[in-house]
Amino acid sequence: MASRRPSGPFDQLAEYFADHPRALLSLQIVPPLVFVFFFVFVPLASIFAWSFWTVENNRLVPGFSTSAYEEFLGIGGLPTWRLDIFLKTLRIAVTQTAIALVLGFAIAYFVGIKMRGSKYALPLLLLFAVPFLTSYLLRTLSWYIVLQSRGLINTVLQSIGATNGPLPGLLFSEFSVHVGLLSTYLPFMIFPIWLAMSRIDQTVLAASADLGGRPRDTLFRVVVPLALPGILIGSIFVFVGVLGDSVVPEILGGATDSSRTLIANLIDKAISGQQYPMAAAIASIILLMAIGLIWGWERAFGLKKIGEI
């Protein structure tokens, strides 16, 4: 059959790209690459570059000075309080990820495995997304109302005679910061794990049972390994999210245990004090650490698994 002669501009375009496949590939790849370059790479590279600049007369001046890093790390006898806050933030982020993992895995397991096929499974899961319909700030402030001395918890405890007065450390403490972070980041753990679990074939679970596997064996030897991609991506979400959170510690953190200042607050304060190179240096260190973390996970588990969920 004779080929149809192109009759319009789109036909001609299609013909052109059929003859020049590399041009088509370029057209597909170049725009997103340009976008990523200008809107992701350039800003990040700028932050890294600014960390070596200096501030004169309230303005950033190009140059090369490592003083921001030296101050941050406490090199040469300088105080190490910024490094201490960084390490404290890492500790809180790890703890928060572990708490979210325990709770998130249990919820995802219940909804994704135990309630599989139930018409209530999806509505139950969506309940965990409801908080996202409100403002992040209001969501955090609501914990203020619940945890304060005259708040819901203290009022209930005192009314039933469980306590004589407000519980110390409920608000303005590391505890309240963990509560606020948990309410914010728990869904980021639940949904990836649930997605990973929902892909586990029912016959695999049945086979485990048929082969004599106890429920605990099925959980740890079948479900957990198959849900690992979801666990990994959920952990990344929570860990990185906590590293960058400044609102929850600002509202719910206290002065006594310094839970009010995490590393993101330190960046805020550096900007407020026009210490832009310091803010950029801290951001660069966090960025490098996050890249290192993802690289480590890639080496250990392979990020391709994330695509499987």
Partner: protein
């Protein structure tokens, strides 16, 4: 059929479009889009005087009268937007877009020099205002908050003033007495065992440091020569002291913002707080009222005032209305209103006569005796004193 030259290979056949035609369409489209864009930009950035848009006032919330009685006759509407009490964000915001977004701003007076140097505020000849001569002399002359240090130009109009100290919850700190007890006349209450874990200071260091400087210096606990003019060594001394207090668990939280301050005290989360006097006024009007007292510290006050400044936008587009607004803040209604709802003293004594003549004016009622007492009290607050003088009798 005759073979077309390579360049004309794609020339229109039927509904086909050549590259040249396509480029022509693109060119025409770009010109039309650019025209629409320019037109939209011009419309959105038209001079506000044409549309009589509301004046944009960006300021510390305690200077907001929340009503505009008497101003609308000639001044038009005003939109008041609350500004943070944090110097650097204010400077940055004004440098970035504030100078083109707001007509007037009012912030703590310590910022006038850098704001003027940045071109964020202008010299608008405030001395020509009709009520300029009525401004209390200590605010009108040699006032660094309205005077550019390098040139001597007057660039602001003082609108409110006060002396800050400490809010105390009497019934919790001295139960059963109903009156402030031992330690209630010194900033040391913030660092006393009576308030350990129940004390709070403002997150913004610019207010907190002067109270600590007064406490350390006036009581000779540390060497601070002049709390009103701190040196780098003084600041380091204060910083070390505060860090030690924090490490010892003295503070429950560092507060920021008006609502937070009221909430922390109303809910008894903290019992003593370095804060603004309107917080105490708000606590006394809670239901049931809270027995809160504003400290009269023996160490003295750091007196402050908030001026109103004009931006380049105000000068170029709404100068007459900005001048009218500035004048209005010096007159009786604004003074009576601010003193009644905030306890703050305004820059002229007009409020006293106004309250006497118009006790039931809008936003009132206005109690002449109360307003008179506030003027007497705040104007009487000592500035640079030694411990043990008449400081003990001053305060709110």
């Amino acid at each position: 059929m005759e073979e077309k030259p390579q360049g004309q290979q794609a020339v229109s056949e039927g509904r086909g479009v050549s590259r040249r035609t396509f480029m022509k369409y693109v060119g025409v489209g770009a010109v039309v889009a650019a025209g629409v864009g320019v037109g939209a930009y011009a419309y959105l950035n038209r001079p506000s005087g044409v549309s009589a848009a509301p004046l944009q006032w960006w300021g510390i919330g305690t200077g907001n009268p929340e009503r505009w009685d008497g101003l609308n006759d000639a001044g038009g509407d005003v939109v008041f937007t609350e500004a943070p009490w944090d110097p650097v964000p204010v400077l940055n915001k004004m440098k970035a877009d504030g100078r083109n977004a707001y007509d007037v701003i009012s912030n703590a007076g310590t910022l006038d020099d850098p704001l003027f140097a940045d071109g964020s505020i202008v010299d608008f000849d405030p001395e020509t205002l009709p009520s300029w001569s009525k401004i209390y002399p200590e605010l009108r002359t040699n006032n660094p908050t309205i005077t550019v240090a390098s040139t001597g130009q007057i660039v602001g109009v003082p609108i409110v003033q006060n002396g800050d100290s400490v809010a105390m919850l009497v019934d919790e700190l001295w139960p059963g007495t109903g009156q402030p007890g031992q330690g209630s006349d010194t900033y040391g209450l913030l660092f006393d065992s009576l308030t350990t874990g129940k004390s709070s200071m403002e997150q913004s260091w610019a207010c907190a440091i002067y109270k600590v400087a007064n406490y350390l210096g006036r009581n000779h606990l540390q060497t601070i020569e002049d709390p009103a003019s701190l040196t780098t060594n003084d600041l380091n001394t204060i910083k070390t002291f505060m860090l030690n207090q924090k490490a010892a668990g003295q503070f429950k939280v560092f507060w920021e913002g008006w609502n937070t301050a009221v909430s922390l005290l109303a809910n008894k989360e903290v019992l003593a707080m370095d804060t603004w006097e309107p917080v105490v006024f708000a606590l006394r009007t809670q239901n049931p009222p809270i027995n809160a007292v504003y400290m009269a510290p023996k160490e003295g006050y750091y007196l402050w005032n908030i001026p109103i400044y004009m931006t380049p936008k105000g000068q170029s587009q709404t100068k007459d209305r900005c001048m009218h607004l500035s004048q209005w803040t010096l007159e009786g209604w604004y003074g009576a209103r601010i003193t009644t709802i905030r306890g703050y003293l305004t820059a002229t004594p007009d409020a006293i006569q106004y309250a006497q003549d118009n006790p039931n004016a809008g936003g009132g009622p206005y109690d002449t005796a109360f307003i008179q007492s506030r003027h007497t009290l705040v104007k009487g607050l000592p500035r640079h004193m030694d411990p043990g003088d008449e400081l003990a009798t001053a305060g709110g």
